[in-house]
Subunit: 130 residues, 4 copies
C-alpha cells in the first residue's frame, strides 16, 4: 500500500472524453495538477499566490502509466504523496476508479522550485509537505 | 429571481486560467455543458447513453454575457432552468461566485434533439425536464 | 457576402472532438480567440504584450450559432471583420469548412478594452483595426 | 542526432498558456498526440477511421522531460520516429522551439493496438510505419 497523504475525489466530465468515448490521455495531467494544487492549498500553500511572488513550482519530468480508462459518469479518487529527492519534489500520484478502486493511473511527477526563473535548492513551505 | 431547478457547485482549477490569470472564456462553456449533463443525470437521463442509442442533444445557439471573471481558488454555483420553445429546449444558465453570489455568467443555450442526425420535434424524457 | 478583413486556415485536431465524434462546442471559442489574436498580430498588436502592460481586451458578450459540425480531419477557414460600436469592439467571426465552404459557425464577439481593470473608451491601436 | 521520420510545425495559441504565462504542461500531450495522428495520416492511416472499425491505438505509458517552456507567439517543430518493441509501438517525440531549435520537450510514448478492446500483437499498417 502506498503511503498517500492526500486524496481528492472527482467525477469525469463528458467534455473530457474524446472520440474513443474515454477520458483523453492529456486530461489526466489536468487531474494530477489539480490534485497537487488542492493538496498545496490544504497545507496553506497557494500555487497562484506563489506565482504572484515570483516563485514557481515547475514540472521537470512526468511518467504516467495508463492502466485503465475512465469513462463518462465515472467517479475517481486521486491520491498522492511527496518526497524530496535532491532539489526535486517528487509527487507519486495514483488515480483509482470508484467505487471498485480499480487502478487507472500510476504517475510520478518531478518538480523543482524557481524564483524569478532561477532554480532554488528547495523552499521551506514545500519541505514541510514531505 | 430566476426559477432555477438545478444547481451544481464547483471550484476553479488553476489549469482553466489563462495568461490573464482568469478563467478562459471558453472554459465557461465547459462548466455550462457539465452542469446540463449533471442536471440530466439527476433526472435519470444520460447524455452518453443517449448518444450510444443514436440520440444526441445538439447545441444550436449560445449567448453568453461575461459579467465578472472567476479566478484561481474561486468556488461558484452553476444554476439552470429549462423551457421548451418550439422544437428547442432552451437552457437558461447563470454562474455565481461563492460565497458573495456575484453574478459572473448569464447564458442562454438553445439545443435540439436529433436521432441518427435527423431533427426530432422533441423527446418525452426531455419534455419531462421542463 | 461579409466584408471579412482576415482569414486563418486551421485543421481539426482529434483531441478537440468529444464522445459524439465532433468538435466540442467549447472548442470553437478557442478557434475564434486564436483567430482574433492572430489577426491582432498580423496588424502588429500582441494580446500577451498588451497584457504585460496592464492593457487587456476582455470579452463582454458572445453569440454563437452552430450551423454544421466540424469532424476529425476537417480543414476550415476562420474569417472575421471588426466594427467599433460605442466603447465595444465587435468581432464578426464565421467558420467555413474547407474545401466546400459550408458554413459551420456564425459568431458575434463583443469586447472592451481595460487598463489596470478600468474600462477604456477605446485604444488607438484597436481603432486602427476597424 | 535522432532519426526523425516526421515533422510538424505548429504555433502556440494563447489559450494554451496558463497563469504562469507559459504553455500548460498537459497541452504538450495534445501537441504530441496531434503530431502522431498527423504522422499516421501522412502514411494513409486514420486514427478516427480505425476507431470506427473497432481498432484503437491506446497509450500505455508516457515519459515527458520538460526542458524549456514554450510561450505566446512561439513557433515550434514537433518531430518523431517510431520503433516496434515487443507488442508496443514506441514513439520517440521531441519538440524544438523555432527558429533557434532549442529543445523544449523530450518524450517517449508507448502505445499498443487493440481490436474491440483486446490486445493485438501488432497491425500490418502500423508495422509499416516503423
Amino acid at each position: 500500500m502506498e503511503p498517500y497523504t492526500y486524496e481528492l475525489q472527482l467525477k469525469v466530465r463528458d467534455y473530457e472524453c474524446d472520440l474513443q468515448g474515454i477520458v483523453n490521455n492529456s486530461v489526466y495531467q489536468n487531474y494530477l495538477e489539480h490534485t497537487r494544487h488542492e493538496f498545496l492549498l490544504s497545507r496553506g500553500v497557494s500555487f497562484s499566490d506563489l506565482h504572484a511572488q515570483g516563485i514557481d513550482a515547475v514540472v521537470a519530468r512526468v511518467q504516467i502509466a495508463y492502466k485503465n480508462s475512465l469513462r463518462p459518469k465515472d467517479m475517481f479518487a486521486s491520491k498522492l504523496y511527496v518526497k524530496k529527492e535532491g532539489v526535486k519534489y517528487v509527487f507519486y500520484q495514483d488515480i483509482y476508479r470508484l467505487p471498485d478502486n480499480k487502478l487507472c493511473i500510476k504517475a510520478k511527477i518531478e518538480s523543482v522550485v524557481t524564483r524569478d526563473g532561477k532554480l532554488l535548492p528547495g523552499l521551506p513551505v514545500f519541505d514541510a509537505l514531505v
